[in-house]
């Protein structure tokens, strides 16, 4: 056997195990999901499944619960993404300015990210509890009225954002810090020699050079936020009155509690459509990395 042929055979053999998984658990599911979205499938009665075309999508647009879920998801994204970027920037810049103890602070800030969502949620549910939670106990001590953190519709989503912020902002801060550390020192030194103000340095040097990192953070956080699930599941179960039930929970409950797989699949395609613009930016970033 020639060397080139052997190399080719070994090449495909090495790829084969991964490609088998890729085919079965990525390619086929995408096709199955697309097919499901176009049929009316009831798991209790598979024989009665029939092709319904775009009916599932029309149903979604006419379903007030779909719009409530879309609204809750959007509310979360709009509240959470800017907060995580701003707080992450502040923490990252703060750490960057430290002369000593930077690594200790970095570890402390990142520590909550190690928790699974159930543990983090249980902890914060204890903090948020109306009667004997930490927050209301502290408020009471200060002579302030109790806050219905999770039990009032208007407050529940901001409370979930607060918990998520504590849980994940460490990762953002660490990325910002690493981005800042990649900026060559001489830029700052040159700016200082020229007598630049600190706002000027931030606006004209730090921010532009941090742009790739910020774009990465923005895109990945947005994609993840559109799929928020565990936090609401643990803290509120999606309530009160569905105020915190996002798209993924709605899809999950439609498919696995209501056994409407076709409708559930169409919801996940609609969510994908919502995320698509951000996914495309991500794909471009990945591709440019691959060519580099």
């Amino acid at each position: 056997m020639s060397w080139a042929l052997r190399r080719k055979l070994v090449g495909w053999a090495c790829m084969a195990p991964y490609l088998a998984f890729f085919l079965v658990f990525i390619v086929v599911p995408i096709i199955v999901s697309a097919w499901l979205a176009l049929v009316q499938l009831d798991l209790a009665n598979v024989g009665a499944s029939r092709f319904v075309g775009l009916q599932n999508f029309q149903d979604a647009f006419a379903d007030q619960f779909f719009w409530m879920a879309a609204g809750a998801t959007l509310q979360y994204v709009v509240l959470f993404v800017p907060s995580v970027i701003v707080v992450g920037m502040v923490l990252g810049l703060g750490m960057h300015a430290m002369r000593r103890g930077r690594e200790a602070v970095r570890a402390l800030v990142y520590l909550p990210s190690m928790l699974n969502v159930a543990a983090a949620g249980i902890l914060w549910q204890w903090f948020f509890n109306n009667e004997f939670g930490l927050f209301n106990s502290l408020l009471k001590r200060a002579g302030l009225p109790a806050v219905p953190w999770l039990t009032e519709a208007a407050l529940a989503m901001p409370s979930i954002c607060l918990m998520s912020l504590w849980w994940t902002v460490g990762g953002t801060a660490v990325l910002v810090l690493a981005g800042l550390q990649q900026i060559p020192r001489m830029y700052f030194e040159a700016a200082a020699l020229d007598g630049a103000t600190s706002t000027g340095v931030f606006r004209l040097i730090t921010l532009p050079l941090l742009k790739p990192v910020l774009l990465f953070i923005f895109v990945t956080t947005t994609i993840a936020s559109f799929q928020m699930f565990g936090q609401a599941m643990i803290l509120t179960g999606g309530g009160p009155a569905f105020a915190t039930r996002g798209m993924v929970q709605f899809m999950y409950e439609t498919a696995f509690n209501g056994f409407r797989f076709g409708y559930g699949a169409s919801i996940s395609w609609l969510l994908f459509a919502g995320i698509l613009a951000f996914s495309l930016i991500q794909a471009r970033v990945l591709r440019s990395q691959m060519e580099a």
Partner: protein, 271 residues
């Protein structure tokens, strides 16, 4: 002057972030009545009752069984992902059989599809294969993720080929070259992937929630979520269980803090 002020503020912020975990640890040693008085910082008497209850491994809440399940699923997932991804990356970066370029593009392109879309169809497939409610339902789909292949391919491409060529000239076969040269040289990237995969699998919540049916087959995050809904009035107990579910990762973090944070940033900052 200004810098020391910032430092002080940052240390305070760091402690603020870690404080909830400390409160959690302390509360797990409190009696139930004292858990409900969160402004009392320390317990009057340190109790092990909550941990004793956890370790009973009762049928309704078999915490130890969940722990074993989590260890098995996360370890098996990590091993499988590394085996499958490193072989594929070796091919994509070194052997490059004709036609592999478009395949790699497809793999990376599929990373765009958000995870939630796979939940329903993979459930349908797994039930076809009779894998629902088995650990394989959590392990096998994880091996299809493109991240590991992408990351390792990137890393191997950035390595100089000279050493590997020398190995080939010295009479190594291609597979020996992979096993003895390429893989060991890629160990930093493999370690990063291992850490990521293990943490991700350990903390995974939605997948076991959907693919596992019997309580004894749960992994920790789903288990403690169930625990929370059935023992919602016993905060001390749920908090002790939550802490236990995080403990292995917290220990891992204390030991490999630097590596974990640096691998997290490395994957985000490749430019």
């Amino acid at each position: 002057m200004k810098r020391s002020l910032i430092s002080a503020a940052m240390i305070a912020a760091g402690l603020l972030f870690a404080a909830p975990l400390l409160l959690m640890a302390i509360a797990s040693f409190k009696s139930e009545a004292e858990v409900l008085k969160p402004t009392q910082l320390l317990p009057t008497e340190w109790k092990l009752d909550n941990y004793q209850a956890v370790l009973e491994n009762s049928i309704e809440a078999p915490v130890l069984t969940w722990f074993v399940n989590s260890v098995f699923v996360s370890s098996a997932t990590t091993l499988l992902v590394i085996a499958v991804s490193s072989l594929a990356a070796f091919s994509f970066s070194r052997l490059r059989p004709s036609g592999s370029g478009p395949v790699l593009n497809l793999v990376v392109g599929a990373m765009m599809v958000p995870g939630q879309l796979f939940l329903i169809p993979v459930y349908v497939l797994l039930s076809r294969f009779a894998l629902i409610d088995t650990p394989w339902a959590l392990i096998l789909p994880a091996a299809a993720g493109g991240f590991g292949v992408f990351m390792l391919t990137q890393f191997m491409r950035s390595m100089p080929v000279a050493i590997e060529e020398a190995a080939l000239i010295d009479g190594c076969s291609l597979m020996q070259m992979f096993w003895r040269v390429t893989l060991p040289l890629s160990s930093p990237a493999v370690a990063t992937l291992a850490i990521f995969t293990f943490i991700g699998s350990w903390n995974d919540y939605i997948t076991p929630m959907v693919y596992m049916e019997s309580v004894r087959n749960y992994t920790l995050p789903v288990g403690i979520a169930l625990f929370q809904s059935s023992y919602s009035t016993q905060y001390g107990l749920t908090i002790a269980t939550s802490l236990l579910s995080t403990l292995p990762l917290l220990i891992l973090f204390l030991i490999f803090q630097k590596q974990i944070i640096e691998s997290m940033t490395a994957s985000g900052l490749k430019d």
